[in-house]
Each structure stands twice: as C-alpha cells, then as structure tokens.
Symmetry: D3
Subunit: 157 residues, 6 copies
C-alpha cells in the first residue's frame, strides 16, 4: 500500500514553548447560515439565537450566535494550516468566556498566545502548556476568550 496522507509535522517539546509566543489566524465572517448550522447540529434552538421576533424584546434586539459556535469556529481557525506536533495533545480547556455577543455579519479572527507552562502534577515526563485564544470581531472587541491546555512531552524529563 502507498504512503498516504503524510502530515506536515513540527516537533515541539515542552521546552520549546515560550511564554509570550503569539500567532494570529485567518478571519471568518459569521453568517446567518452559521447560526442555523450550529443550531441544527447542536440541537440548541434557544430563542436568543433563532427567534428574531423574541430577540426584538431583548437587550441585543437581534439574534446572537451561540457562544459554542464562536468557540468551535475559533478552534477551527486556530487549526487550519497548522502542522501536527507529535509530542503534544489537547488536554482540555481551563476557561471559556464570551464577553460580547457575535451578530450575523461580524468577522472574527483569533490571536493565540502562550501564557503558562507548568509541570504535569503526576507525569514527570510531561508538562502542561496554556494557550490563550482571544477571538475579536471587526471592531477589535473581544468576543471569546479560551484557555487551551496542551499536554506536551519534555525533551529532558
């Protein structure tokens, strides 16, 4: 059988991450179709997202997309075009906040910064890296903050 689907890898050990390292992603405009797609797939049809009449009676006056949609799309933006790191894997999230709503027509983008490095409490061979992912809209307002924790092998445990 052939050598199929070889992925670009960039080996990065725990020691190779530096606090303050940063990168930014592409942007993506959130459309009304994205509201429908997330409501459909998650099954979350709360009126805040999909009932325009009810929204007129609320502070924001129009539908706002599900926080988790912003979060999932932000995660996707962070991953597109990134190489695989054979020494790391996703460990989870330590915090997610949605400080401002996202409306149909807004364009979001994510900035990723390494904000923490620490030993793993039980595995001396590995450490935990925290990346802060700040999603902003076209007016530079923060619409999502996510602290992503990555479990990374140490070069010299």
């Amino acid at each position: 059988m052939a050598e199929v689907a070889k992925y670009k890898e960039v080996a990065k050990f725990f020691e190779d991450f530096e606090i303050g390292e940063t990168r930014t992603t592409a942007g993506r405009t959130i459309t009304e179709a994205d509201f429908v797609m997330h409501a459909m797939h998650s099954g979350d049809w709360m009126p805040h997202h999909t009932d325009a009449e009810w929204c007129k009676t609320q502070p924001f006056k129009e539908p706002i997309i599900h926080g988790n949609a912003t979060f999932s799309i932000s995660t996707g933006l962070c991953i597109q075009g990134e190489p695989l790191n054979p020494h790391g894997m996703s460990y989870g999230y330590d915090k997610i906040r949605y400080p401002k709503p996202v409306f149909a027509g807004d364009t979001i983008q994510v900035k990723i910064t390494v904000i923490d490095k620490r030993d793993h409490p039980k595995q001396p061979s590995h450490g935990l890296i925290t990346e802060e992912k700040i999603t902003t809209n076209q007016n530079d307002e923060v619409v999502c903050v996510a602290h992503h924790v990555i479990y990374v092998e140490k070069r010299h445990p």
Copy 2:
C-alpha cells in the same frame, strides 16, 4: 402584532439552586455524518477525525470525533426542552476535559449536577452557580466533563 413565541419560563433565583441537584438528558447516537458536519462547520479537518487511513497508524485505530463536537452536542442535549430562567444567563466554562474518545456509533447522554454556588466577586446582586455536565457513552465511560458557570440574580441581595 400577535403574541408570538412565548417561552416557558421557570423563575429560579440564586437562592433556589441547591448543591447536589441533578438531572439527565436524552441520548444521541454520534454518527459518521456528525464527524463530517462538525469538521465542515468548524473547518477543523485534523486527521484524527477525518482520515481513516492515518488513524489506522494511531493508538485508537479509527477516527475519533472532535472534542468540541462532543461538547457542543452535549450542550444541545442539556438545553432541549428546558425552560428559560429570566434571572440567569450563561457566564462561561471553568473547565472542559475529554477523558475518553467518542467513536462513530457511540451513544452519549449527559448528567448535570449543581456542584458550586458562590457570590459574584463584584456584583452583590448576583451569584455564580457551577453545573458539572458529565457526558457518558453507552458503556458508562466518561467522555466529556464541562463545568458550566451561570450568572444568577439573587432574590435577596
């Protein structure tokens, strides 16, 4: 204009939440179509999720769904059929973990438990409730843990 989309409301103040309260959701079988749908909408086509040949070379041997897909679908399960609480709103998440993978064909279900109540650090009128959402598969294995924080008005601040 008519009275449209009146939502079932259950008023629940901060004082009304009790640590240990619990409820469970419906179940949902995760299909191959759900893998494709989440990859499509998030734009996250990492080979762990959508390259079956590459997965054969990995520990799990077959594709596993994106953690965020499990998280979003779990959130949807928690919300379906729930009334609105006019005194509360989602504040964010304090922790998300994916202890075990979810494969195509697995059926997930969520159990929600109130695990914490605390005053809001700055707003004396409100408190913060933490609900732990434990998603399990058909073998009772935990596949997702999420700590959801809700910002709730106090009846007697």
Copy 3:
C-alpha cells in the same frame, strides 16, 4: 451496561385526552439558509423557492419556502421538550393546508389543540386522537394547518 438515555415519559391513555386541550411551542425564524437546506435535502428546487429572478415575475415577488419545510419545522417545534407517551404513537395526518406563504425572515410558532377523539374502527383496545396544529407567522396569520392523528391505547377498552 449502563442505564443510558432514559426518556421522560408521561403516560397518557385515550381517556386522558380532552377535546379543547391546548399548548403552544417556541418560535423559530425562517432564514434563507432554511430555504437552501430544505431544497437540498428534499431535492425540490422549484423556482418558487430558489429562483429569486423568476419569483419577481410571480404574484409573491420573492421566494416562498416549501410548504413541506414549514410542515417539518412545525412538527419539530411541537416535539422539542415533549415527554414520550408510552401509550401512543403517530398514525399519520388527515389534512395539511398552506393558506399563506412563508418568506425569509418570518418567525413561526405552532398552537396545538385536541379537536377530535374517536374509536379505532378495528382495534377496540385503541382510539384515535386528532390534534390540530396551527402554524402562524409574526403577524398572527395562519401559514400551515395540519391534522395529526395519534393512535392511543385505552385504559379501559
């Protein structure tokens, strides 16, 4: 194996239904994405729904969503959050009408009323309940009428 996906059940025998009983659903705004989604899934690309230029030459001047889309979405609204009834199952529909068109941006909601109870012609153990589902738009205009027949076990046949 674990006790998975236990559904909320509300046992309701034939005798428990009363003509005139009523309930209303949540609302949902019909977006352009819903037009595309229904056309895609059903394969019905009639110009009334998806050719805006041709629609300009017609009485309604703009695309109207497929009647069956309104019907399916109305059915979904009726079901969300409803408990299972172990004594009943869907028997079919006796009538569906679409008195007014639904345009992109309209918000629909359904009102369900029990309008008929009758014995099943052949099964003395069961009866037939008819629920009228009236879908209205944000201006209180009726856009869909569906008579749903449910086959329900009798407590005392």
Copy 4:
C-alpha cells in the same frame, strides 16, 4: 435584462387529468446522513430516530427515519425533472400514512396515480385533482402514502 430561468411548462387543465394516469420516480437510498440531516433541520431528535441504544429496547431494534423525512424526500423525488403547469398549484394533502418504517440503507421510489377529480366547492373556475403518492422500499413494501390535492384551472368552466 436577459431572459433568465425560463422553465419548461406543460399546460394541463383540469379536463386534461385522467383518473388512473400514473408515473414513477427515480429511486433514492436513505442513508444515516439523511437521518441526521432531517433531525437537524426539523429539530426533531426523538430517540426513535437518533438514539441507537434506546432503539435496541424497542420493537424495530434500530433507528427508523422520521416519517416526515420520508414524506419530504418522496415529494422531492416526485418533482425532479417535472415541468411547471401554469394552470395548477398545490392545495395541500388529504391524508398521510406511514405503514412501514424506513431504515438506513433502504432505497425508496414513488409511484404517482391520479385517483380523484372533483369540482372546487366554491370556485366554479377550478377543480381539485387528487394524486396518490405511494412510496415503496426495495422490497416493494409501502412505507408512505400521501394524497396530494392540486387546485387546477378548468379549460371550460
């Protein structure tokens, strides 16, 4: 502006329909993705359709697709490639039944027969045509029956 989207028309007055006229459609295999797509778009996640574990405890042992999905897809099959009739429009349905379930992997096809012609009760210029649409699976079992009523202009009122 250009002559865009000219549709094939076949003028057919009330007098031109004959009881017993028949035609058959193409076939379509119902996939697991169709279950997900209909559940997503309608918002109907009843366990009969999307909880494979629960279905194991039920008579059919595996998920069955929503009746309305079969109905919508059948309607789409009936319409593909059909010309427009400038003298007719859909009036609604007089009956829908789902005698047998449809499972993932089944292939459905529709046979359409004109079964009734009658005057419109109030409009002497028009009549009502009833087409019976019988959807069968690959074993020739009937899985959906729908009586479609069409409102058609008379050539000689």
Copy 5:
C-alpha cells in the same frame, strides 16, 4: 424483489448528437448559505469567499463564491430532470473558466451547446462529444464556461 428505481432512458448514440444542438436549464439563486455550504464541504475558506472585512480591501468589495461552487451547481442544474443515456458516460472536462465573479443574490442559469464531435483516438467503437456549458447571471454576463466531454458509443462503428 420488486422492480425499483427504473430510470427514464433516452438512447442516444454518437451519430445522434448534432453540433449546434442546445438546451437551457432552470435557474438558481446563489445565497450566502451556498457560500458557507461550499466552503464547509470543500474545506476552502479562502478570504475571497468568507471574510467580508478582507474583501472590502479588494477590487470586488464583497465576497465572491468559489468558482468550483458555481461549476458544481451548474453541473447539477444541467442534470436535473435529464434522462439517462445508456450509451454515454462522462469523460471529463477540457476547459473551465470563470470570467466574472458570482455574488450572493445572483441568479444563475446554464445553456448547453454541442460544440464538437470527434473519434476516440484509441477506441473505434466510441467517439467524444464536447458540450459547452455557459453559465450566465441575471444580467446575461458569463460567469462560468465549462467544456464537458462525453464518451459515447457509436451505432455503426
């Protein structure tokens, strides 16, 4: 087993195609949802299609749909309602061009013309037919040109 999914066939040999033969398709309005759907399914999230802010800095000022989306949808329009030809099969394309962009809200339609007939270089039993598919928008501007080659059996090789 039943006779399922019998397709309308129109037998057309190589000799039956005439240069200059032409037909036109139905129209379809390209919506914002179509942009999202094609980006999702292809995984092509180039900013020209899905980043409205970036597009404001570009010559077209707003997103333009992927050329391949226009091409795929045009192909779909050409096929709807067409009979099968048991003597022909698609061989590929000899040219695709996208002379003008397609914006959300544009309505496209396709005109198909037989522009070439030639012997197959190696198979004397078959020939190659080239159909030119010209996709235009509502202003009669050409937005896609595709030369489709069909491999067709000869009646008298």
Copy 6:
C-alpha cells in the same frame, strides 16, 4: 477599526515557479455523508451516486461519488494552510479527468506538481503556470487529474 484578518502572504512571481516543483496535501476519508452533501448542494441525484439498488445492477456494484465532489474536495485539500500569493490568481482548468471511481470509505490525498510555464498570449506583464493535481486513493490509484492554470505577474516583464 482594527487590523483584522491579516493573511499570511508568500510573494511568488512567475519567475519563481519551477517546473517539477511539488507538494502533497493532507488526506481525507470520503464518507457516505459526503455523497449526500454533494448531491444535496449540487442537486445532482444521478442514481450512480445515490441509488444503491440501481448500482447493484451496474459494473461498480455500489455508489460512486460524483466526480465533481472529488474535484471540489481535492481543491479544498490543496488550499488548506496555503499562504496567499498577492501576485497570482486562479485562471481556470485546462483538463479534468476521473480515471477511477471513489467509493465511500476511500481516503484521498493530492499531489501538486508544476508542469508548465508559458507567457500569457496577450498580457506581457503576466504568465500562466499549470499545476497538475493528481488525487490518489489509499491504494495509490489515480482517481482525479486536474490541470489548474494560474495567472501570475512577472517580476521583470
């Protein structure tokens, strides 16, 4: 307004392309859901792709995905993670062929090779680059060949 959605650019003039340059993409497993998604979005429900019963009577015995689906997904694979080239833009395709079918469960990958450079016939400031995109399956069989033409500015016209 903020600096949003800044894209990674790699400036590459006509002179910078070399015949024989090559790169490969990630892989993607084609699922049954991809068949449905492409049929849905394009509106192409030919039985070769979506009628499993009819396919049993044909040489391949099971459904094969639309050639244009393979082509669109291959294009998406080629683009993910690629920087923008401010000096180039897509000009079209000179050839597309589908030598072997793609079945559900196959995993595809694309290899891109620069195979031609030529002056533009009318614009001395620009040239045309041809990239050959060869899509293979997990058995190294070629399933799609596409000659993509790019219109690129010259550094020294």
